[in-house]
Amino acid sequence: MIKFENVAIRYDSGPDVLQNVNFTLAPGSYHFLSGPSGAGKSSLMSLLYLGRKPSSGKVTMFDRDIGAAPREALFPLRQRIGVVFQDFRLLDHLSAFDNVALPLRIIGRPEAEIRSHVGELLDWVGLGKDKQSLPPTLSGGQQQRIAVARAVIARPRLLLADEPTGNLDDEIGYRLMGLFEQLSRMGTTIVIATHNQQMIEKFGHPRLVLENGSVTVIDETQGKKIRNVF
C-alpha cells in the first residue's frame, strides 16, 4: 500500500525536516504517528496526502511511484485518501453539510445519495442540528468533527488524521476513534498523528515515532489483541 524508501523532506532550501525515512504500511494497517511538536508529523502527513513530493527518495502509494507520476495521475489517488488536517481547513462560506459533501461532489455522486449519506454522518458525529451552520459560527470541537466527517464521507482507502481529537472531550474523542477502528476493519489503511498518550495506549496500535529527523516503527501489538473499547 505505502512504501517509503530513503525519503527526505525539506522546505525550500532549508535543512532536512526528515531524512532517511523507511517504512512500509500494509493495506488495512493502523498506525499512530507520534513525536514532539515540530518533529515533522504534519510534514510526513503532507507526503502521504500527496500535498508535496519527496525532496529525495522514493514514495510508493497505491502501487505508483509518486515522485515520478504525472500530475493527472494523482487526482484519482487523492480522491481515495481522506484527510483530517491539523487546522481543519474547512471552507468558511459553505455550510457544515456542504463541507462534508465536498469529496462526494468532487467525484460526482448524485445529490440524493449525498443528501442521505452526509445527513446520516453529521447526525452520528453529533452535528445533526448544525447542518446548515457555517464553520465560523461553530465551536472548535464542532469544526473538528466536520473535518473528520469530511475525511471519512467518501470511504477512503487511506485515512490520515492530524491531531483529530485535540479540541474534543474524551467522550466524542473515543467515539471518533471508534469510527476509525471500524473503517480499519473494513480495510482502510489508517495513520493518525497525535500527542495524546492516553489514546495511543488505549488503542494500542503500532507507532511511527519521529525523533531527531528520522522515523522508527514501534510495534508492541505483536500477538496482542486490540482491546475492545466499546
Binding site: 500535498g51 480522491q79 481547513r89 467525484i107 448524485p110 445529490e111
Partner: protein, 335 residues
Amino acid sequence: MFSEKIKALSKIPRPNLPLVNLKGKHPLIDTAIDKLALREYDLPLHKSEDSKFLVLLVGLMSFLAVLAFTGAFTLSAMSARWSSGLENKVTVEILAETREGLLRSDAAVKEDTQKIAKILSQSPIVKTVDIMDEKEIHDLIAPWIGKDLSLTDVPLPGLIAVELRSGTKPEQLAKLTRDIEDASRSANLSTHQDWLADLVRLTGTLQLVALVIAAIIGITTITAISGGTRTRMAIHREEVELLHLIGATDRYIARQFQRHALVLALKGAVAGTLSGLLIALIVALLPGNSDSSLTPQITLGAAHYIFLLLLPLLAGILAATTARFTVLRALARMP
C-alpha cells in the same frame, strides 16, 4: 426516517446563492444540474469586491462595441446604398467642342447624340437610355457658368443617362465604350469608377477601424478578466489548495472560476449591449435624420441583430476561456 430529515433540511432557506436553487425539487432536475455542474460555487467567488467593477468594465466594453459596430454597419450600409445607386448607371457625354478646341454646331452635337443613343439602346447590356433635354443639362451645368447668363450663348454638350442591366460584366462595358467611341470621336462614357473606388476604400477603412476597436475591446476584457481571476485565485488560495488536496481535478476547480467569469461577463455584456442598442435607437429615431439619403441613417440589418445576440455570448466565452486558462496555469504549479 432519513427522508424526514431531508425534508426538514430542504425547507431551510439558504441565503446568498448565486443561482436559483433548483436542487432537490425533482431527481431529474438534480441529475441535470449535476451534469451541467450548475451547483452553487464551492468558492465564494461571487462575493468578490471587484465583481461590480468587472461587470461594469465588460458592460462598458460591450457598449462601446455596439456603438462602434452600429456606426460601422450604418456607414457600410450607406456606402452599399450609394454604390448600388451608381454602379448600374453610366453617363455618355457628347462634347460641344472638338478635341482641337473648336466649337461644334448645335446640330452636329444633336446628331451625334441621336446616333449614340441608338447604339446604346441596341446594346444587350443596356436597360434604359435617356437623352437629357436642354433644361436638364442647363440645371446640371448652371453652377459652373452662372445662372443668369444666357444659355444660348454657350454651346451645350449632349448628355445621355444610361442604366445598365444588373450583372453587367466589366468586359461588356468596355466593349460598349469602344463601340461608342468608334461611332463618334466626341463621345465620352463615364462610369463613376472613381466614386466607387472611393467607396470601396471607405468601406475597407471602416472594416479596419471596426477590427481595431474589436481588438482593443477584446484585449481590455481579457486583461481585466485574467487580472480579476488572478486576484480571486490569490484571495482564495487556501480554499483552492484544499479542493486540490481532497482530489478535485484542475478542470473541476477551473470550472468554478470559468462559470463565475461567464456570469459576470454575461451580466455586463447584456447590460452594455442593451444600453448601446438603446442609444443607437434613440439616435435613429431623432428627427431630421432621414431627411436626405446622404446623411447617415442608422440601419439595423439582420447581421446587426445577429451580432447583438452574439456579443454577450462572445464576451461570455471570451471571459470563461480567459479565466479557465489563467486558473489552469496557476494550478499547474501545485504538485
